[in-house]
């Protein structure tokens, strides 16, 4: 069995920071990689060492396999954790690492190739008796063939990137006339995100519930599940709120879903941490379909960690080192309820448009049962080149109602200034009657966003606060005195107020 002393984390942002935190707890040194604009990013500061691989474009940095292998050799890193996104599910990375004698903390290359390609995975699962959504079993570039398949499946159809994940390269097509343009967009987005533009079609289920099962498999044939997560709340096909357990799943359904996931993992010959995504049909009670295997650590893994008390990154490292799973299925327990909200750099009031810029102030909430996984701090730049995820807020409580109340409280305490984020919308979503009642589906965010706009009633307070801040800045500068004097209702003075003058343009 191996014992790692140094691990390279081939990612950026919150997931790189999260992985490095566990590595430090395990006494393992971490190596960051970065691009030029990320030289001072939080993940670089969190690591023990850094190798800057190249320019802003992911292809010359976070997707540069040769650069990563070279960085491992230079620093003496014995293993690579890929995080999620970037190269996490690209079999070329573990292949290149293996040739260099470096361990990949994730599934073997052949497993990634099998399950990472969605159409191959669909065939594999059908053969194993796992229910799949009607659709194509092979990707196609031919618009005529796509049109014929769409016609057979019946509109609306969903275009998906065969290499995809995270909603990238996905388009719903409701009418044959829209197929060509949607195909072009999906292919171009898939190509930009995954370096592979191949796409396929499947039936578009109307507002299903998205429920997934976390699995863990070691290299000794043991496969266990860590229960389910519900991730039905999505915008632009990307998850925004996740929770565990699912309010839609009772004991009997949980048994069926988790057994299906274990069957799927075994069929794929899976090793390491993975997720079997399922769609629960709202039309037919208890019917669910295999969606895909996510052969990586998921963004939303913290809700599973909160309810099981396990550290998935620690377990991933152990499995990659050749250790057997330290527990059997019967020893995995679940306690309470956890909800995660993703804090993206985007503006929900204008169609979730990206909002790159500078995080001027970040002050996450604290208190019992809260966890904050962040990739930025006050002063961090948010570049246009990468995923918009800045941080994740996770609330745990003994039951769902208490977790909802805790999340609403925590979001109200969340301060992030300088870039737009969905915090205010998240309060609206989590407070909604539908969310509180657990009536979730993949179209719910869109429904709840319609008719929502940021509140305007606090404008007077906002304006007053800015004027007060400005006047005090000037007052402090002109008075220049100290001591707790109080003039005309204004306690004064305070410390140097720096860039407070709104009109003066700061320092």
């Amino acid at each position: 069995m191996l014992k790692f002393r140094k691990v390279l984390v081939a990612n950026r942002g919150e997931i790189a920071v999260r992985v490095m935190r566990t590595l430090r707890e395990m006494g393992i040194a971490s190596v960051a990689i970065c691009s030029e604009p990320d030289r001072t990013a939080l993940h670089v500061r969190t690591a023990d060492e850094v190798r800057c691989l190249g320019g802003a474009e992911p292809a010359s940095s976070y997707l540069d396999i040769d650069g990563i292998v070279a960085a491992c050799k230079e620093t003496g890193a014995e293993a690579v954790h890929p995080g999620y996104g970037f190269l996490a599910e690209n079999p070329d990375l573990p292949r290149a690492l293996e040739r260099a004698g470096i361990v990949f903390i994730g599934p073997p290359a052949d497993v990634l190739a099998r399950v990472g390609n969605k159409t191959t995975a669909r065939r594999l699962m059908r053969e194993a008796g796992v229910p799949v959504i009607p659709g194509m079993d092979a990707p196609s570039d031919d618009i005529d063939e796509l049109a014929r398949c769409a016609g057979e499946i019946g509109y609306p159809v969903l275009i998906k990137a065969a290499a995809g994940g995270g909603g990238k390269g996905m388009r719903v097509v409701r009418e044959p006339a829209d197929l060509a343009s949607a195909t072009h967009e999906a292919r171009s987005e898939a190509s930009a995100s995954f370096g592979d533009g191949s796409i396929y079609l499947e039936r578009y289920l109307d507002r299903p519930r998205h429920i997934e099962v976390q699995v863990l498999a070691d290299g000794h044939g043991h496969v266990v599940h860590l229960f389910e997560r519900e991730c039905s709340l999505q915008r632009r096909h990307q998850k925004i709120i996740e929770e565990s357990p699912s309010p839609a799943v009772d004991g009997a359904l949980r048994e069926r879903m988790t057994q299906t996931a274990v069957t799927a993992a075994r069929a794929a010959g899976y090793v390491n941490a993975g997720t079997v995504e399922l769609l629960l049909d709202r039309e037919r009670a208890g019917e669910f379909y295999f969606l895909e295997v996510n052969a990586r650590l998921q963004v939303e893994h913290p809700v599973t960690e909160m309810v099981t008390g396990l550290d998935l990154v620690r377990l991933q490292v152990g499995i990659a080192a050749g250790e057997p799973l330290p527990f059997a299925q019967g020893q995995v327990t679940r306690h309470g309820h956890a909800i995660e909200c993703r804090i993206y750099a985007e503006d929900p009031s204008v169609g979730f448009a990206p909002s790159p810029g500078t995080v001027l102030l970040l002050r996450p909430p604290s208190g019992p049962g809260l966890r904050h996984d962040e990739g930025v701090v006050s002063g961090s730049e948010v570049p246009v080149y990468y995923d918009p995820i800045l941080a994740k807020l996770i609330a745990w409580a003994p039951d769902r109602d208490a977790a909802v109340a805790r999340m609403i409280r925590a979001l109200g305490d969340y301060v992030i200034l300088g870039v737009r984020t969905p915090v205010e919308l998240l309060i609206h979503l989590v407070s909604s009657e539908e969310f509180r009642a657990g009536r979730l589906h993949t179209g719910l965010v869109q429904e709840l966003v319609q008719g929502w706009s940021p509140a305007t009633e606090a404008d007077d307070l906002v304006v007053a606060a800015v004027l007060a801040r400005e006047l005090h800045g000037r007052r402090e500068v002109t008075a220049g005195t100290s001591g707790p004097s109080r003039i005309a209702g204004w306690p004064t003075p305070w410390q140097r107020l720096g860039a407070w003058d709104l009109r003066g343009g700061g320092r």
Binding site: E185, E189, A192, A345, V350, A353, P354, P356, G357, L360, L361, R363, S378, V384, Y385, Y386, D387, P388, D413, V415, I416, L417, G418, T421, V423, E424, L426, P454, A455, T456, A458, D459, D460, L461, V462, V463, A464, A465, V466, L467, A468, R469, L471, H472, R475, A488, G489, W490, P491, W494, Q495, L497, G498, A499, W500, L502, R503, G505, G506, R507
Partner: protein, 171 residues
């Protein structure tokens, strides 16, 4: 002195003077008392209610971000020269991204005739792609960017000359 400020684009007229505990906003009077302040917060009583407001200014910019209760607002000074550029003005006819982005592909060439709504340029930010369309029919007069370039809201990426006969016809 009256000040014109926008809160996320909504314009307000406000006045307050040094030494006063009264602020007037769009004619509404409010009582304000600052209890304590730090580099990034003000602890204040506003109309009898205590509230902590967080604030941060971008370096060298005439704008301040304000946060309270899970909400964040961008407050900006209304600049005199910027007034009057409402919908239908020059800004509405720009081919410009709605967020800072990188140019992925230029889809037209100089001299090409384009219809209103024709795809001109694809930009990408944070892996989300957006195609900018022609605001009116005409001939491409100039392309002011290239693939791989960083572009910002307000940049006019493609200039389209309007044929005289079409003037005003698609307004």
């Amino acid at each position: 002195m009256d000040r014109k400020l926008t809160v996320d684009g909504r314009e307000h007229t406000a006045s307050m003077s040094v030494g006063s505990s009264r602020v007037t906003i769009d004619g509404r009077e409010h009582e304000i008392e600052v209890l304590e302040a730090g580099a990034h917060h003000i602890d204040l009583v506003f109309d009898g209610k205590r509230v902590v407001v967080f604030a941060a200014s971008g370096r060298g910019r005439r704008e301040t971000w304000v946060g309270a209760g899970g909400r964040a607002r961008l407050v900006a000074e209304v600049e005199r020269r910027a007034r009057g550029g409402g919908p239908g003005g020059a800004a509405a006819r720009l081919v410009t991204p709605m967020f800072p982005a990188v140019v992925v592909k230029v889809l037209v060439e100089k001299g090409q005739t384009v219809a209103r709504g024709a795809a001109l340029i694809t930009v990408s930010a944070m892996k989300m792609e957006m195609t900018l369309a022609a605001p009116h029919a005409g001939v491409v007069k100039a392309i002011n960017t290239k693939e791989g370039a960083n572009v910002n809201p307000g940049d006019n990426l493609v200039e389209i000359e309007e044929p005289e006969a079409q003037e005003g016809s698609d307004e």
